[in-house]
Symmetry: C2
Subunit: 394 residues, 2 copies
């Protein structure tokens, strides 16, 4: 079985250039205060003027990357610049850590313990620096990554959520660290940040993921484990996030291709296999949001809903796995998740994708964006997969 790359490439290109990107440029870009508004209703009208700091970085990166890798369109560079300038002007607290949400005009609303605002700002600065040659932005990218690494990996730096009775660590810090370092390396070269090169940070995170989070005895990639990698047999410790793990799988395969390292490619493909088996809904199709490693009930209420982003990550992962291994079943899995996603998520009337479906694929909530959905997972998938489908890419 094979993938018709020309056919799929056209689908991804058309969705990216004719639907998703115009939707966000038209409805999301804030021409009054700069930056990106993401809380948009089905038709693009504004539901909430508050701004997600994550999305100033994510959109700044997305539009900068399109400019760098697809075509040098002035409107894309302008959108990236608008987000970068909003980040600079309004998104850093006096202590240097970044806000989580701000008002439309940039007054702070909420600070969180964790540092994903910083990682997304780092990739925005890096893509913008690449697009413009702005040395200040390159420096800001390295500094934002350094803040991210400090809070994520220096013991005691991040405010704890729990008492020290039962310590645990999450895979998210490693995944985001890895993809952030990959993007900075792609745009600024393999620079050194906080004592290691980007490649060395990536190596360290993959090693820790493989050593502590990957559980061959369960055929699963855990979301959280004890500091020594032990499975924590409580509800939170047992909860798997198949879409998140499949995203991790393609980050590792992507790195394997970059390094021409077949072992990493095989590691990523194995994670994809295991977590696809955990997450694919054999009754209704699509990917379930959460699953318990021992098959017990999950506490989070939306455990069996179908969110847009795990499907985007699985479309990338299956396409990449097929390209890198040539194995038939990845072509079949790609067709399966592509078809289910394109049958259920797109809004034929107003464009873009719905984000939140019930288990059976019916729409739960009609909005196009909020503080967690905006121009990131979907256009990233479309751009990545369009590129993968182009003739001549391995």
């Amino acid at each position: 079985m094979s993938i018709d790359l020309a056919r799929y490439g056209a689908i991804y290109r058309d969705a990216l250039l004719d639907d998703i990107i115009p939707f966000w440029l038209w409805h999301g870009l804030d021409r009054e205060h700069g930056g990106m508004l993401t809380a948009l209703d089905r038709d693009g009208s504004l539901l909430d003027t508050d701004k997600s700091v994550w999305f100033q970085g994510r959109a700044g990166w997305m539009f900068g990357s399109l400019y760098n890798t697809v075509e040098q369109r002035a409107e894309w560079l302008e959108a990236s610049r608008s987000c970068v300038e909003f980040l600079r002007a309004h998104c850093f607290s006096p202590e240097g850590k970044m806000w989580f949400t701000v008002t439309r005009d940039g007054r702070p609303l909420r600070m969180r313990r964790y540092v994903f605002s910083e990682s997304f700002a780092a990739i925005a600065f890096a893509a913008y620096a690449k697009a413009t040659g702005d040395l200040r932005a390159a420096d800001e990218a390295a500094k934002a990554l350094a803040i991210y690494l400090h809070y994520s990996f220096t013991p005691g730096a991040m405010l704890p959520k729990f008492e020290p009775t039962r310590p645990m660590k999450g895979i998210g810090a490693h995944m985001i660290g890895m993809v952030t370092a990959q993007e900075i390396r792609a745009n600024l070269g393999d620079i050194e940040v906080s004592g290691k090169t980007c490649t060395e940070w990536i190596t360290a995170s993959i090693a820790e993921i493989e050593r502590d989070f990957l559980k061959p005895e369960h055929e699963a990639l855990m979301e959280v484990v004890a500091p020594d990698g032990a499975v924590i047999d409580h509800i939170d410790g047992r909860t798997l996030n198949p879409g998140h793990a499949i995203e991790c799988a393609w980050f590792i395969m992507h790195e394997g291709r970059h390094r021409k390292d077949e072992r990493l490619i095989a590691l990523g493909a194995k994670i994809l296999d295991w977590m696809w088996a955990r997450g694919w809904d054999r009754e209704y199709g699509g990917l379930l949001y959460f699953a318990d490693v021992l098959g017990k009930p999950v506490q989070e209420y939306w455990h069996d809903m179908k969110f847009w982003w795990p499907h985007c990550e699985a479309i990338i992962a299956t396409l990449l796995a097929w390209k890198l291994t040539g194995e038939d079943r990845y072509a079949a899995m790609h067709a399966q998740v592509h078809d289910w996603s394109f049958a259920h998520f797109p809004d034929r009337e107003h464009g873009e994708w719905f984000g939140y479906l019930h288990r059976d694929g019916s729409v739960s909530q009609r909005a196009k964006g909020n503080m967690f959905k905006g121009p990131f997972h979907l256009p990233r998938m479309l751009a990545y997969c369009w590129r993968e489908c182009a003739p001549g890419t391995r």
Copy 2:
């Protein structure tokens, strides 16, 4: 239209005494370490040994109340005592604020900003003091209520979740304050705590709810508002919780009956009317979890799910409204929510109720309990409504 009190009373009594209470006594009561385990699977087997501090208080109160108001069964007093002693031994931090979760043997896991552990401990101590005459428990009830009142109503006492850019206040602090004071008054008399009697605290909270949270122009009771009562036109500010507001409605009607104050009864009935109209699902039946005051999309993913507890609160509220006003439509509403609930939530195979249904009434998650579901809303409803159905109660 009328309510057949004898028929409904038998349903509530049988469910309480033959199903719900035995389930929790058998599966939940921790005979090894004391206190109540609530993370139970469908058949009562243990999903997680961690303990909710809320539920040590809630169960301690529930069993103490059954002993005080239904029958002096030794096993109920023993269950209450077990929870009270677990609270005393393990649930207070060195600073006096209470934990949110602890391990099975009582080691601290998580502290939260808010103080609902304290309010539930207060009602447990009060019911236990009433049952036993234990003066220490009476004193502990007053002290826990004082901590609750301090953190909830002293400006600056509670760690803020948001920056001061857009201040807001929630109705939850007033609702829990009101019902906690009602329970302490019922068991210990109208004692003075932190400078006001229980009745005065209740009066103040009802006044603030009516002045700042009730919006006749929207026919809605808001969950959060600005300090001056203005509607905050952002997603969080617009989000209504009909089941929560209907719970507030019966707290106010209950107070109205206690005071023989027809104005309070009418206020509660109005809230019930408005929020029933907001929450009742005209397509599938049952109460939706969230709604936007302007009819816009809600961000929380489970907005259209059917949870057990709003239905419990609505069964109480409609029965009480009918008893206090005699209006036909409350009898119809009571039949509607009673029938839907008893058709969808009970587990005919293993007993007790499922907690989390999809919008269409199908079961989303099979567990009987977790850190938020245990022996509280459901047995409280059954006990309250059984009592209301007894001959001779007004």
